[in-house]
């Protein structure tokens, strides 16, 4: 279970101070699918980065599966991220120089998974998202929908407790978007929590709960019938 208590994030440059998040508190249960919505610049991505331990809050507490991680070192955050979190990005963020299978394998590389097991799990993950037949291709040889499915496979392959998706369907057509949503929903059934930033109400409808942000604060939470 994830729990944020009065978390704020302030970005400072030499001239200006920008409050990206102000005293946000929220809880996300195991296996829950949460959508985050809000206009540009409302703090969605900042919240996602904090949840994903890619960044640390300026103030407040973050209970990450029972541990307060708000003040951890970069190395400890790296370890937690490695063990528990998978990411899906709007712009896919696949490494151009690696093949599809190698891209997925990256997620296991830093977890010290033995080579044979790695190959096995990569194959399973690619089959799960239906892209196994393109395992040897480079990302640029795939369509956007296919690339995002690879990215989902990469997020799933390490069997994380939490998947963070930043507008995963933003660059996809409707059909491909729905396919990716189906993959994420299916993941929650095995107990994985999914937090997704989206602009689309239709996509948000797939989530169990929608959190709306405005100017760095939570303005509403909508619980949908499970």
């Amino acid at each position: 279970m994830l729990k944020l208590e009065n978390v704020s994030k302030v970005y400072r440059t030499s001239e200006v101070e920008t409050q990206a998040l102000g005293e946000v508190s929220l809880e996300i249960a195991d296996g829950e699918f949460v959508a985050i919505m809000g206009p540009s610049g409302c703090g969605k991505s900042t919240l996602l980065n904090l949840l994903g331990l890619l960044d640390s809050p300026t103030a407040g507490a973050y209970w990450f599966f029972g541990e307060d991680v708000a003040r951890r070192s970069e190395a400890q955050l790296t370890r937690l991220r490695r063990e528990h979190i998978g990411f899906v990005f709007q712009s896919f963020n696949l490494i151009d120089d690696l093949t599809v299978a190698e891209n997925v394998e990256v997620a296991l590389l830093y977890r010290k998974v033995p080579r044979a097991e790695r190959k096995q799990r990569v194959r399973e993950a690619l089959e799960r998202v239906g892209i196994a037949h393109r395992a040897g291709h480079r990302p640029q040889q795939l369509s956007g929908g296919q690339q995002q499915r690879v990215a989902v496979a990469r997020a799933l392959v390490s069997a994380p407790k939490l998947i963070l998706a930043d507008e995963p369907t933003g660059n996809l057509d409707t059909a491909n978007g729905e396919a990716v949503m189906a993959l994420l929903t299916e993941a929650t059934r095995s107990g994985v929590s999914v937090v997704m930033v989206t602009h689309s109400l239709a996509q948000a409808a797939a989530a169990q709960r929608t959190i709306k942000l405005l100017d760095g604060r939570v303005v509403s939470e909508t619980l949908l019938a499970a």
Binding site: T78, R79, E83, L109
Partner: protein, 821 residues
Amino acid sequence: MFQNYLAASLRNLARNGQYAGITIAGLAIAFAAAILIGLYVRDELSYDSWVPGHQQVFLVRQKITGALAKPIVEETTPGALADLMKLDFPQLQYVARLSGGTYPPALRRGDISISERRFIWVDPDFFKIIAPPAVAGDPATALAAPDHLVLTRSAARKYFGRDTPIGGVLQVDGTPMSVAAVIEDWPTNSNVSGDVFGSSLAPQSLIPDMTKAGMLSNSLQTWIKLKPGADAATVSAALPGFVARRMMPAVNRIAPDEHLRIQLWLEPITAMHLDPVESGTFVPETDPAVVAAIGVIGGLIVVVAAINFVTLMTARASRRAVEVGVRKALGAGRRDLFVQFMGEALVYVAVALIVAVAIAEIVLPGLNTVLQRKMTFDYLGDPALLVTMLVVTAVVGLLAGVYPAMVLSAFRPASVLKGGPIANTGGGGLRQALVVTQFCVLIVVLLAAITIARQTVFAVNEGTHVKQDAVVLLFASPCTDTLRDAVKAVPGVESAACSSPGAISLTNSIDNVVAHGRRVNLDWAPVDFGFFEIYKLHPLAGRTFAADHPADDGANHTDDAPPIVINEAAVHALGYSSAQAAIGQVVNWHFRAISLKLAGSGQTSPYRSSQIIGVVPDFTFGSVRAAIQPTFFFVAQKIDFLSSVVLNIRLDPARMTQTLPRVERVWKDVSHGQPLQEVFASQFMLRLYINTIIQGAFVAVCALIAVSVACLGLFALSAYTAERRTKEIGVRKAMGASSSDILKLLLWQFLWPVLAANLIAWPIAFLVMNWWLQGFAYRIDQSPWTFLAAGAAAVVIALATVFFQGLRVSRAKPVSALRYE
């Protein structure tokens, strides 16, 4: 429009201070190196091209073949040659002989008393053939009087304290001679040097004696100038006939059994510097391969810098993407942008050239000191130099600018403006190949520098087999028993012994000896009792000369010859199975001719027989470039400089500072005011390696430049990579890669090209240095450790260069890397 481009270029340059600094620094260092190397190469190629009428000026060179170990090519010739050529060749306008500075006379004026090593005896016509500009008097006619001297400006200041001491008198070996003309100092790119020139007509001149020494005594240079319109080819064609007619009868009389052949030819004065011969050179000559190698290194440095330039310009591509997109969206064509970026490249190289010129001006005086040259960098007064520099710079700018300009101008506006993927800046493989090439050059140059340093140390310390530490050489002609015994009595002197110039490799003299019916050419060298002991040369068999054996002393022999000691090489040359087997054997040689008038007097004398009493290890005071000659030693009467020219003194190392002044006082008492000329044996040896050391220094400097330019390139590439792989690094970190994982990834990317470069560079360096070492008869083995050390150095340098960039990137928070997209 141009203004807008210029503004964008300059602001870009200012905004990217670090990039711009690295780009310009790399180019500037390389241009400066190229300028200096260019000046050096030009200097090497320009020897004596300043001599008026140099097309008609030649040195007579000769090659002697026959019963010698190997042919001798030298540029000294018999003294009689000059007059004979004047008789036979009407095409000659002037002929003049010149003696080197081997036997420096004592020059005195008032309190000044100097053994002048830069004293040269020349024939009166010499300055009609070659002369620097006159400062005072007429050098062309000055030496027609037997008691006249010509001084350089430096010598005039040294002896008289002024530039034009016409009529001033110097005592030359005790005989007064007056200054009749002063010339400018010789340019350093001249085959002639010297500060004080005496007329060969002077009674104490060495030239008449050297001429009398006969047709096989070669210690003078013979210079000729052809009449205007005369053809050198005609003279050359007639030279074989001249040799047969004028020289061979005398040669065959002196050496009837040696079947000698002599070949003469005319060497153009401007060609001789890069056409080196083994002996008889008065000014060091240069192997053209070395000049070519240095030129190639200069070119490589520029190429490497140009490669860096390309890398840096393309590396910055992504930063300029938006500018390109906007300009294209606003209607700029690809051609407009191409012109803009080419212009930018030219701005960079132009700035680099200005910095390079400043660096070259600052470094040149130091380089001149090291190389002992007077190279000038007067680019404003030398249009050819200026044009060359500008053209080379422009070519580098254009060539290096084309690729980045093509890449940058090809960006698709829609894609860049949306922030989507930038057109692949491509050439990843090319860039890796360039890094490998850079490090190849670096490692080869590094290995060359190490090998040259090792060989020089070896040559000075071990190759000669002489223990010369704590030994001082005191020149005295002749070195007498009186002087020796007086110096021996000085407290702190362990031992002292006279020796001939041959024993310390100042000259070499050959006798054709007969042993067991076989004829062999051996070098001979008179020595004193105790000579071998001073250099800790212990006999391998038998004994060395001992004062308590009166029969050892050549002075006690008239009708027979004294016993001899031979070196190991002579054991082999004479065909004995071992040093022990040589002891007691009999050798026949020309003892009387050698020890009384000493060599080549033109008279034959009967063979005398000697017994071999000892064998000493091979040793030489000469260059380790030449093999140690088979030599025999004997104790001769100390009658002139050829039998006894130097006192070898071994000092107690602990008391050297007190002992040397005492030795100098003894010299004053014994020498009747002759100038003192002493030198440590180790320094005496070092003179032979000046050229090697200069070559080594030059290569070391090149190595340093290559290292710094290659490091800049690597730094550039690491910056480029960091920029290009930002997204990848972010993704990997999001996936759980730690900072050290990323650091390893980045470092490996730079490590493997360096490792690959090692594999390519090692065989190249091995072959090149093998070729260089072949020039030495005694040489080091190329050690695998040298290669490993150079390789390790390259790896360390490479990693140190990219480490901080890598560290910075790897420690960045992943979120900033991902936001970059």
